[in-house]
């Protein structure tokens, strides 16, 4: 009986998910597409929870749906509202459909076999076995910050690269939202709440769902909110501080890694007894960097005077190099 209920629940979740995905991809109205996309993100968060992945549920809600959604929403402001049908010829469209369908069938076939053949010997057992010496009890955090910390380091590099590109390309966008007293009032109590929440997520990540990325996203939300509520006050932070915050995450990560390298001849090899502390330090710094990065990404470009330093020492500017 319970089984049946679960199955019905699963089935409806899946169908709804596919419906939302299809809607996102096939509607001709940008606004609706984005809305559906955000809805899909929230549904995914539920599904992650259903599949016992609470960390992801959080991350999806805050980053997948939240930040991406916000990015899309701010992007479609200066964008044609209707999606023109692609110029692809009917023949090509047919080919694409056939190709995708074939691929889907092929993959389903493979997965069918895969689920049957899967010997169950996965890394999970090792993770559980090693978790005690990893310094954190939340296995996901253990994987992210210890077992596969190198991936996370490069991931931070990816975030940084993306943000650098954003800063390279445009000047920041000034919000079209007319800041209302209501918003400002709300901000006054919402921002501290967000900051506290992010601090909590960061701290709790060691043994329960949460961690640097979720916390960073929360913090970013706070910064963005401030920007939205008080657009007049341009420079909330000094730009040096911003630069510093942007790189501090990776920098700490690398420095700790090198320290361990010199100590134990292995990059990022934490001693079990300090591992917890080191991970917390790295995560804290990472949180700051991620928050700054996401906030800048949302602003969509350079704050005023971002490149002053370079401009000042560009005394001799001859012909432009790029091709």
């Amino acid at each position: 009986m319970i089984e049946l209920l679960w199955s019905v629940f699963d089935l409806s979740l899946v169908l709804l998910l596919l419906a939302l995905a299809w809607g996102t991809c096939s509607t001709r109205d940008v606004m609706r597409a984005v809305t559906l996309f955000i809805a899909m993100g929230l549904l995914l968060a539920i599904i992650w929870a259903r599949l016992k992945a609470p960390d992801l549920a959080l991350a999806e809600a805050v980053i997948g749906a939240g930040i991406s959604g916000a990015l899309f929403l701010s992007a479609i402001k200066d964008y044609p509202s209707t999606i023109t049908v692609s110029h692809r010829t009917p023949v090509l469209q047919g080919l694409i459909n056939a190709f995708t369908l074939a691929l889907v069938i092929l993959m389903s076939w493979a997965v069918w076999h895969g689920l049957n053949m899967s010997d169950g010997i996965r890394l999970s057992d090792q993770v559980v076995a090693q978790a005690p010496v990893s310094g954190v009890s939340n296995p996901v955090t253990a994987v992210l910050l210890n077992f596969r910390a190198y991936d996370t380091l490069l991931e931070l590099a990816v975030v940084l690269t993306a943000v650098l590109t954003v800063l390279t390309l445009n000047d920041r966008r000034y919000s079209h939202v007319v800041s209302s007293p209501l918003l400002q009032g709300m901000t006054h109590w919402l921002v501290p709440l967000l900051v506290v929440t992010s601090g909590y997520l960061l701290w709790v990540g060691a043994h329960a769902p949460g961690g640097a990325f979720q916390a960073g996203a929360m913090l970013a939300a706070a910064m963005i909110l401030l920007q939205l509520a008080f657009p007049s006050r341009r420079q909330q932070f000094s730009l040096y501080l911003v630069r510093f915050l942007l790189v501090i995450g990776i920098f700490t990560f690398v420095v700790v890694g090198i320290w361990m390298l010199l100590l134990n001849d292995v990059f990022l090899a934490f001693d079990p007894d300090w591992a917890g502390t080191l991970i917390l330090i790295i995560e804290t710094m990472a949180t700051l960097s991620i928050a700054t990065a996401l906030a800048l990404a949302y602003l969509g470009g350079r704050p005023m005077g971002w490149e002053e330093g370079a401009r000042n020492n560009s005394a001799s500017t001859e012909n432009e190099g790029a091709g």
Binding site: M107, G114, V127, L154, R311
Partner: protein, 484 residues
């Protein structure tokens, strides 16, 4: 310290990037220093492999599987050295190419990130880590392409990014299936576990497809020419010489060392055929191209094709000296193209800055205005055609002989036609370059731009053409996955 070169070669550029973000005033200096240090590290790595065979660094001290491992063997270390040489030359070049300080400040951090991505990719021994590094590579490459800040460049960059993301996602889907079936991401463990099953075959197909997009094999090359042609010259050099090539490297890795149980001669033949078409099509387009850099970009499409023609031959040849020879020849082709194409793009940049354009038909008399640069173009052209003395001459020699030995003579026709087309497009440029012009330039103008290009061209021709004898033993002895 020395033993950790495999770490330093990744970490130093990363730190360099952070520093150049924080103090843009010292960015150029930082970039040059960190590149030279990384170059030194890569030399140390090659030496380590040469002295004591392939080796592994298990990050975090967790054995590969639970943790991520970095691995270096003959193939990866040699490619690493090549890419660091190219990158260092391009770095010197760039330090005088970008005359505008703001542009320079934007360039260095992203450039160093590209270096990080390249090195991390070449040394990675973990399937998912490959995905992350691939993303880092695409993003930094796209960002650098967009630095030109022209409409063409932006359009190219957007296309480049979306296609790159698609490739990564397809690759990631493959990774998911692999993990579903075999419960590990470590390449060595995988190579021991993998067996021919529907799952592994589909996974293999997805991984390959993702990498084919990134290595721009015909017909998935369409994004490449616009991107490589519109990026700033040093960036184009890195894109054509390295970024495309490391994707091919991963493909080879997976094909030769991990999925060797799964791959079928038929699939190899398919890729070989696509490679053959790429050779002809790319060369033909290069011959039609109106702009120097576009020509070079199409020539890259063709040169990548040659690498894929090796696949069916390597699969067909029996284990032993013949197979090894073919494989080394493939590597030699890749190295030569890396040096030659980067030298070509750097010189194209010099010409572009001198003439204010790079329209081939209006380059009359460049040979007189820029003798050295023209000479470099000619040298790298020789390597692109595959004339002696150059590494690609040897490469093609073995490509042809392998075709005869494997009884697949039809590739010979493709190679012949491709080489003749290459001759045509290279000497088309030189023909214009020898055209009349009044002003006779000095031999050297702008050493910081011309000397690096010259050095790269010499690597492609003389050094690889006459001095690559050691490579053959090195590769045949030290090409395998080191375990712990």
């Amino acid at each position: 310290m020395m033993n950790d070169a495999i770490i330093w070669v990744i970490i130093i550029p990363l730190l360099g990037s952070l520093i150049s973000i924080s103090w843009s005033r010292y960015a150029s200096l930082t970039a040059i220093i960190s590149n030279l240090l990384a170059l030194a590290a890569s030399i140390v790595i090659v030496n380590q492999v040469y002295q004591s065979g392939p080796f592994i660094h298990e990050l975090g001290g967790w054995q590969a599987g639970l943790g991520i491992s970095l691995r270096a063997d003959a193939l990866s270390s040699v490619l690493l050295l090549m890419s660091m040489l190219v990158v260092s030359a391009a770095t010197f070049y760039a330090s005088s190419y970008f005359t505008d300080a703001v542009k320079r400040a934007r360039f260095w951090p992203l450039w160093l990130m590209l270096v990080v991505a390249l090195n991390a990719l070449l040394l990675s021994g973990d399937l998912f880590n490959l995905y992350v590094t691939l993303e880092l590579l695409s993003l930094s490459a796209v960002a650098l392409t967009a630095l030109s800040d022209s409409r063409a460049a932006l359009q190219a960059a957007i296309r480049y990014l979306s296609i790159g993301l698609l490739g990564s996602l397809v690759f990631l889907a493959g990774v998911a299936l692999v993990y579903m079936g075999y419960g590990t991401l470590d390449l060595l463990a995988l190579s021991n576990k993998i067996d021919a099953s529907p799952l592994s075959q589909v996974a293999f197909g997805l991984l390959t497809a993702g990498l084919l997009i990134k290595s721009a094999l015909f017909p998935l090359h369409f994004w490449l020419p616009s991107a490589h042609a519109s990026a700033p010259a040093p960036v184009s050099a890195a894109l054509s010489a390295l970024v495309v090539k490391v994707a091919v490297y991963i493909l080879l890795r997976l094909w030769m060392d991990v999925f060797d149980q799964v791959l079928t001669p038929l699939s190899a033949m398919l890729l070989g055929t696509l490679g053959a078409i790429a050779v002809i099509w790319g060369s033909w387009q290069a011959l039609q191209a109106q702009r120097l850099k576009l020509m070079a970009a199409y020539s890259t499409v063709a040169q990548i094709g040659y690498l894929f023609i090796f696949l069916p031959l390597i699969v067909a040849l029996p284990e032993g000296s013949l197979k090894d020879a073919a494989f080394t020849a493939l590597l030699l082709m890749a190295l030569t193209h890396g040096f030659a194409k980067s030298a070509f793009f750097l010189s194209a940049g010099v010409i572009q800055q001198y003439c204010g354009h790079d329209r081939i038909a209006e380059l009359a008399g460049t040979a007189r205005a820029l003798p050295l640069t023209t000479f470099v173009i000619a040298l790298s052209g020789v390597a692109l055609i595959g004339l002696p003395p150059s590494g690609s001459f040897l490469g093609k020699w073995y490509l042809v002989s392998s075709s005869f030995q494997a009884g697949q003579w039809w590739w010979v026709v493709v190679i012949a036609v491709g080489s003749i087309l290459a001759t045509a497009y290279v000497f088309r440029i030189l023909g214009y370059a020898f055209g009349p012009r009044e002003s006779v330039g000095r031999v050297l103008n702008g050493g910081r731009k011309e000397i690096p290009a010259l050095i790269l061209a010499l690597f492609a021709t003389l050094i690889l053409g006459f001095g690559s004898a050691g490579l053959w033993d090195f590769v045949s002895q030290h090409r395998y996955f080191p375990g712990s």
